[in-house]
């Protein structure tokens, strides 16, 4: 079973608690897409949340994919090696 989670336009401190409460893996899910289509801003709290989501996915054997990542967000995530499909910064 596959799941898709749409992320809001800001992964920043003022909204992070709300975003956190909205991200849940459904039971029995094998793959999940995190859709960054709306995301325009991300800060360290967003980065930390993404790390937690990645960690949870790993522990549940869920294949995680980041989709529709804008160039700016991609650069940010890439800098911290935060996306499974991104090559490390070298």
């Amino acid at each position: 079973m596959q799941q898709k989670i749409n992320l809001p336009n800001e992964l920043t401190l003022p909204f992070i608690r709300e975003v956190y409460s909205d991200i849940h893996f459904q039971d029995g899910v094998e793959a999940c897409q995190l859709d960054f289509n709306l995301v325009e801003e991300i800060d360290s709290s967003g980065m930390q949340l993404m790390l937690l989501v990645m960690k949870k996915a790993r522990s549940k054997n869920i294949e995680l994919e980041f989709i529709n990542v804008s160039q700016g967000i991609e650069h940010f995530l890439k800098q911290f090696q935060l996306s499974p499909e991104f090559e490390p910064l070298e």
């Binding site: 401190l13 992070i16 608690r17 975003v19 956190y20 800060d43 360290s44 709290s45 980065m47 930390q48 949340l49 790390l51 937690l52 960690k55 949870k56 940010f76 800098q79 911290f80 090696q81 935060l82 490390p88 910064l89 070298e90």
Partner: protein, 696 residues
Amino acid sequence: MDVSAAFHTFIEESAELLIEYEEAMLALESNPDDQELLHQAFRAAHTIKGSAGLFGLDVLVDFTHHLESVLDALRDQQLTVSETILSCLIESKDHVKDLLDHLSEDFEGHYSESVMENHSRLTQKLASFYQREKPIQETETETETDKDNPLMSPEKKPWILYSKFAPDCLKDGFDPAAIFKYFSQQITLHRIFVLEQDLREDSQFDPEEFYLSFVLIFEAEDGPQAMKDAFDFVLDSTTLKLQRVETALIHNTAFWSLFSDNQIRQSIESYLNMHYAKQLAPQPPVEHSKPEQKGARKSTIKVDALKLDTLIDLVGEMVIAGASTRLRIHQSGDERLIEAMNTLEQLLEDVRDSALKLRMAPIGNVFSKFNRTIRDVSKKLGKQTQLVIQGGDVELDKSFVERLSDPLTHLVRNALDHGLETKEERLASGKPEAGILTLKASHETGSITIEVNDDGRGLSQEKILSKAIENGLIESADGLSPHDIWMLIFEPGFSTAQSVTDLSGRGVGMDVVKKNIDELRGTIDVNSIEGEGTSFIIRMPLTLAIIDSFLVRVGTSVYAIPMDVVVECIEFSPSLCTDVMNEAFIKLRDKSVPLLSLFHVFNESIAEKANFAVLIVRVGDNLFGLVVGEILGEYQTVIKPLGNMFESLKGLCGATILGGGEVALILDVAGLVDMVSGSYPHLTNQNLSISEHLEL
């Protein structure tokens, strides 16, 4: 991460590194072309600098940087090893030690004015060496490999920064990502490692708190300054550990212990090794490498001395409980239990021996530090001295090793100041220009012997006597043997120095030396030949904790006699008991051995038809026969101190608890003989003819 523990590790490691550094410096004096010695010193200074940087010890970092620069110039042969440079480098070691000694638990340096004056003087002096050689404004040599490495620009150096932000940093308005963004504009950022080691589980996760830490690999001309600029607003609340990559690549426990996640640690190490190891590692010439020296480090772990003492105490209690169990089992007569107990006892003995060995340390650790003392004192006195160390690998209880340092220092200084002659005096008396001072350690029965020998002028009996009479220590020399006269130098207030110097000769030293040795249950002796030299001989017991002994019954009491001093046991004929109670000798093959009755010494009554035995014991070169009632057998003896009340009591070195719960006193045989020799003058006579002594 317990930063305080890391700080203590840093202090301990630095002290060890300084010893290595000093050894290298002193060896360089006689081997100025030995590149490996320069590498050894450089590595030590470099590691101290790197670790000091982790704790933000700027003064120490700054000073060791200068030290490193001079050593680097020497390694690259831009400078030549000279007496002036070596002296300054050796003095610099003392200054680094001073700086370390002034550090407090809060990682702050509280330096006195004199320390800082010294700091500034030495810094200028060090800088003058390498700046003279390098007029260009670089402080470190740029290598060809640096140029070849695309990650390393010619001016910038690679740094590694560990940062752990406060959990509230986001709520306080500080965004780590934004700080890194600003930082990356000031430096060349190569890599960020995100450390999840503190990231909470889902149930404990608060999205507004920050749990991550980071490692940044970057290049900068001035890493500390760049860091300070970028992290200025969070300096108080953030843990920042910055160090040069080359320091992280060499052994640095304090830094790597920051990472509880082994995987991330390995990733960082791999990254650094891949990109920097070859370029930064010093390349000692193969022909000079000495793998058996520093390369072949033994695998060791550090253990808190208190934990070790607790272990020894527990082993002691186990031995006592074992003896009690053994007694009960033997009383039960159950053969199977007795057999099982025998096996258990053997294991107990092995555990005891292994535990005691943990506390043993080589005396060479103390001996080697005299290289420096001899160098400095000889220079001050204008004498030439060669130090010879023998038996440095002889081991004895660690607490002895530490406490012997002071008395040995005094003996060495004394030998240099008073014992060895000046160059001119030696040449005039047909001796080689350089005096020889020998520090020697060896095993003797039940003890360790440490000798401090010099080939100097020897002790002048005439001068000692005249001084002793002048100071009122004796009235005349009547009845004094040469040895008695030499021993006068251990009397309080005695001094033969013509003038008081800052090295020795204040007349407060030798008696303190003797007192220190006495406190360790040791003895000190002196031999001298006028014109040829003097020997101080210190005898120390092997350990303070648990020993093997013979239990003997004397009258109604039981005594333990350390096994190591016992040479043999002889049954004694009851018919001779009357004579034995008087001053008598026993014939032991071709020797006449004076007897000492413990019945007399301890005022024990003798039962009618009593049996006797003689324990032949060795004290130094002499044999004595201790007359006892019954030999009860071997016993693992846990030494319990007698307490302050009995501190001055000679002849006993402690007490032990027997299996049945009774207490047995442990004899200090050397002390006992010394104590009673006045009352039993025959004890001092080891060379009577056979006809003069009682034969068995």
